[in-house]
């Protein structure tokens, strides 16, 4: 938080000097996507400086992690980027798996890929819809939420909850996919291109939308790298970096997909990249559904992974394992790992230091929304005040993740 409150008298005196004015934008503002506060220094309608103030939603999950065992931290990750809970779950459990060197069965890997891509679509829908809403195009958000509802229903079929999914487990996933889920999933990917066409009809060639987005909030590729921008926003500036292709995890190396790229780095490019990525995600999900093998959905490594529920009730050894893991926690080897994956917002990383006990000694989350917001000043400088909402919308910050 840490920025002194600018009171009105200060603004008046500077305004009286006819040069600059300070405007407090947020934290309670409908288009800051949560509790983001931006202190704008204005000269007329032009922006001289845009200083972000974050921390209004800080809950200290890193501190919490130090007193929980490895299994019981998973639900906390749902609440970081609550628009794409699956990706957060995944980044954390994969970091633990890397640390303890756990092999994950193939079926679980395919299920994880499907979930990660579904949550990418859900996240991008909210981003595109909310960005359009902020600039005054309400319909896209309504259409978007209609389609997002289907994804949330799919998650509900899979694990019983819609947004705070808590689906991933160390060594696999919590439930197997039913045939009904796979059928519904197929129906969704058959339907969704139509939905995307509808968004595009409303926006892509809409003159008002183009006037509000083209050449607004431009950032060059070099600046974007320097400021650590990630995900679709980085690729919109012409930097070809996608961890799914560059450092394949899960089964991405067995799948055929393209990484969309644009050159201009303006708000429009960041929008269109997301639309294209959603189309690619559909392709990925279809391939996963085709190739999905049978077999177990969680590994039977009794040292690190919880045994299946039925076995806990019927088998003595499983019950002992379950008890030990829940009471003492799993004890991965001493050491430190970093694992990063491509979340809808950029590289979501998890850095774990283990001291060999049941709780992480230190857990650091590299949240993409937080780092992406650093570029807001560069994008807004020299632009108009009306464009600030367009730029924030195109960066897609989720404050739960920014503030941790």
């Amino acid at each position: 938080m840490s920025s002194k409150a600018y009171d009105i008298t200060e603004a008046k005196t500077t305004f009286g000097g006819a040069k600059e004015m300070i405007l407090n934008f947020g934290p309670q503002h409908p288009s800051t996507h949560g509790v983001l506060r931006v202190i704008l220094t204005l000269s007329g309608e032009k922006i001289v400086n845009a200083e972000c103030v974050v921390g209004y939603l800080h809950r200290g999950v890193e501190k919490i992690a130090e007193s929980r065992n490895y299994h019981s931290f998973i639900p906390y990750t749902d609440r970081l980027d609550y628009m794409a809970g699956m990706s957060n779950n995944l980044a954390y459990v994969m970091a633990v798996e890397k640390l303890a060197q756990i092999e994950v069965p193939e079926r679980a890997q395919y299920l994880r890929t499907i979930c990660a891509e579904l949550s990418r679509i859900a996240g991008h829908i909210v981003c595109v819809g909310a960005a359009a809403l902020d600039i005054g195009a309400l319909t896209v958000l309504l259409y978007g939420f209609r389609d997002r509802e289907m994804i949330l229903d799919l998650f509900e079929m899979l694990c019983g909850s819609r947004m705070t999914v808590n689906y991933m487990r160390i060594g696999g996933v919590s439930y197997d996919a039913t045939d009904a889920f796979l059928q519904k999933c197929l129906e969704f990917i058959d339907y969704f291109p139509q939905g995307l066409d509808e968004y595009e009809q409303l926006l892509t060639e809409n003159r008002i939308w183009l006037k509000r987005t083209v050449d607004v909030g431009v950032i060059s590729g070099q600046d974007a790298i320097d400021l650590g921008l990630g995900g679709p926003s980085l690729r919109a500036s012409g930097v070809n970096r996608d961890l799914r292709r560059d450092e394949p995890y899960l089964v991405y190396d067995k799948l055929d997909f393209k990484v969309p790229l644009r050159e201009n780095g303006d708000v429009f490019d960041r929008y269109i990249i997301r639309i294209w990525e959603m189309r690619e995600s559909l392709k990925i999900i279809r391939q996963c559904l085709d190739k999905m093998p049978g077999g177990p959905f969680r590994t039977e490594n009794s040292r690190f992974c919880l045994p299946p529920r039925e076995k806990v009730k019927t088998d003595m050894e499983s019950m002992i394992n379950h008890f030990k893991q829940v009471m003492h926690g799993i004890e991965p080897p001493k050491g430190e790992v970093y694992f990063g994956l491509e979340s809808p917002k950029g590289e979501l990383g998890c850095y774990i230091i283990s001291d060999g006990t049941g709780k992480p000694y230190r857990l650091k989350l590299r949240s993409p929304s937080f780092v992406n917001l650093e570029s807001l000043n560069t994008m807004c400088k020299g632009g108009f005040i009306a464009d600030v909402v367009a730029v924030i919308g195109s960066l897609d910050p989720v404050m739960g993740e920014t503030d941790k």
């Binding site: 938080m1 840490s2 919490i64 970096r241 970093y338 937080f370 650093e374």
Partner: protein, 162 residues
């Protein structure tokens, strides 16, 4: 175990400044003296076949009661070479570390976060202040001697007594 190509290259150039190195789970890590941190980072960024142009993260770790107490950890990535490295530097309580904001602009916020959570100060940072906690906050929340529930005050009746 033999070192990876990146570590070998750095060791060759800065033999004395490297305290230790390892590649646990495939993550290349070097532990360096805090005095040469900035110099090594400059080398990592500018050397052509290392080319670490993307700073992922800066964070602190508290090893109470070990001495030196803290460690600052940098995660770097090279977009062209597709390689990663972790640079760590031990820092004693009250010591300052050179800021790397002049090399990577990303460092601005993440160094502020490290300062906010651990009280580690960065020399040469343009505007070092708290980022998550309030300006008048007392203490550094992620230090190991800071209670998980916080301290008891008028807003926090369930906190621990100081």
């Amino acid at each position: 175990m033999s070192d990876s190509a990146v570590i070998t290259k750095i060791k060759k150039k800065f033999g004395n400044a490297i305290i230790d190195s390892h590649s646990f789970c495939g993550d290349d890590t070097i532990i360096v003296k805090k005095e040469s941190l900035k110099e090594i980072c400059t080398f990592l960024k500018n050397e052509r076949d290392l080319d670490f142009d993307y700073l992922l993260d800066v964070c602190g770790v508290d090893y109470l009661p070990k001495e030196p107490r803290f460690e600052v950890v940098y995660h770097l990535h090279s977009i062209n070479k597709r390689q990663r490295i972790r640079v760590k530097a031990p820092v004693a309580d009250g010591e300052k570390v050179d800021s790397v904001t002049s090399l990577w602009a990303t460092a601005d916020w993440v160094e502020r976060e490290t300062y906010d959570m651990y009280g580690i100060e960065f020399e040469g940072h343009p505007d070092l202040k708290r980022i998550y906690m309030d300006d008048d906050w007392v203490g550094y929340p992620l230090r190991k001697d800071y209670p998980e529930r916080g301290y008891k005050d008028e807003y926090q009746p369930f906190g621990e007594e100081e």
